[in-house]
Symmetry: C2
Subunit: 339 residues, 2 copies
Amino acid sequence: MAANPHINPFSKRYKKELDADQLFQQLRAGSLSALSQAITMVESQAVKDSAFAKAILQQALPHSGKSFRLGITGVPGVGKSTFIETLGKKIVEQGKKLAVLAIDPSSNRSKGSILGDKTRMEELVRSDRAYIRPSPAGKTLGGVARKTREAIILCEAAGYDFIIVETVGVGQSETAVHSMTDFFLLLKLAGAGDDLQGIKRGIMEMADMIAINKADGENATAAKHAVREFKNALHLMPAKDHGYTTQVLKCSGLNDKGVVNILNVIINFKQHSHNNGSFDKRREQQELYWLHQTIEDTLKSRFYSNAAVISKMIEIEKQVILKKLTPFEAAQQLLDIQG
Amino acid sequence: MAANPHINPFSKRYKKELDADQLFQQLRAGSLSALSQAITMVESQAVKDSAFAKAILQQALPHSGKSFRLGITGVPGVGKSTFIETLGKKIVEQGKKLAVLAIDPSSNRSKGSILGDKTRMEELVRSDRAYIRPSPAGKTLGGVARKTREAIILCEAAGYDFIIVETVGVGQSETAVHSMTDFFLLLKLAGAGDDLQGIKRGIMEMADMIAINKADGENATAAKHAVREFKNALHLMPAKDHGYTTQVLKCSGLNDKGVVNILNVIINFKQHSHNNGSFDKRREQQELYWLHQTIEDTLKSRFYSNAAVISKMIEIEKQVILKKLTPFEAAQQLLDIQG
């Protein structure tokens, strides 16, 4: 596949010639290159880029928040890319501008990440109204999630009114995606035997909809059973704040069956949640969640990267194991070092 | 019931007349009053008691660690007290000294906490070799858990070689008990319908044994089914480090059925885990867990109790909700205040 400007848009020209104001004007005017360059700046780890990133985010912020944000998760093999391609085409056909982002803290840009190889979304990628961006590289979920949150702000300022955030569910990434989206869709396969895992990790409880994908051909009967089983399981879950019952639907992303129905339910949910105020409430809770999560992550990383703490840690841990210090007294000694 | 010296041992005499060294000598010599007084000092929130508590813990620490620590959890109504009474009598009959402690962060000493009303353990409480201590009062799980951990150290220094820590499972208290015990026993009722909750919250995964209590009379058949169901569910759980398969057993604490079998399995586990080194490994991991948990809890509570942070928090949160600041930028501003 030839280099696609939607996916690999990095261009040094912008960095050299444009300041944040100019780049932001181009972004607002609909330039895909400007959007991509802005996201690249936000994703950059380089200290020299941070003032630029901050400036452009600060300008974008008042223009953000007006999209509908759809989170999609599912294990590898569930058919996420094909589903998103089919769903995404319907969204752009309705005249909406769609951005597809991803969270995958295990990804490494050079090794190819989810959404990195978009041959499977090749129809969607050709649409003028679709923007597809691979998962940012990063070592920690917190870092990757922050970059994706900031990319959402930029996409919204650029006029994208429908944003899909997908994840393969590494570590706590479903929680991260759930905490930045308005609707959380869990894709499942019939009879895949991972149901218990999903319950255990709280994914089912987070889901606003469960869709059994690949529910045709020889899977049709199993899918019917799966729908019933998931419905039963959901009965035991606590009710949701938004008062909307989690639906369990069947679909086939590949054969475009049931996908329009799913989209209709989502659009219905959007209307419903705007009407009863739960949309705004969920957004507010998410903002505060990220505020406090960032504070707590930073407190920890500051502490554990403190040179004096690092140099004392091994010795203190040894004293705890040798019963020379209680863990509580040891914690106090380390905390006293940081001051 | 008359005041019982095992339960309500507070005596001002010790505080006035004895220093930490003397109290510790009496504790080592087997004085129940000294043990109770030492635990009371460790539980005290008063600043004036903290040096005393620290001194006595530091003396106790080298004598600690030699007991077997058994965690027991189960929902209210599962029959924990009766089960512990029946099991505890068998333990003291084998010549062991047994201490029973509790974790219940929802408890308030004045309102009566779990283990506060021990009429249900009245036989056990009369044994010379049993020591029963109610859950310490406290607002946070971290605080209550720390006090219980320190009470374990004192009980071990006082020669108690079998320690039961029970919890009703409020909040994350099962995780706390699991993180301070060598064997974690989950009591269940047949057909109680809370299985999914247990899976979801990871309790089943933590359990080293599941015992279906009240498994006689008209519950006998349901208990048999429950054993099979739990065994099936456990097959889907990841294998444990200690290489010991989680057993599912039936019992009746009230009618003393199956309890001796449970004790035998626990004693067998103890031997097995000592032999393969997993006992020591688990203890080490627990010590480090409490070290890092204490550090992280303290970092957070220091931050959120900082007067300058408190006075700025509401304003900053408002700016985030009004989209004047990203949550990440807002976090940075608050972190800069603390310095």
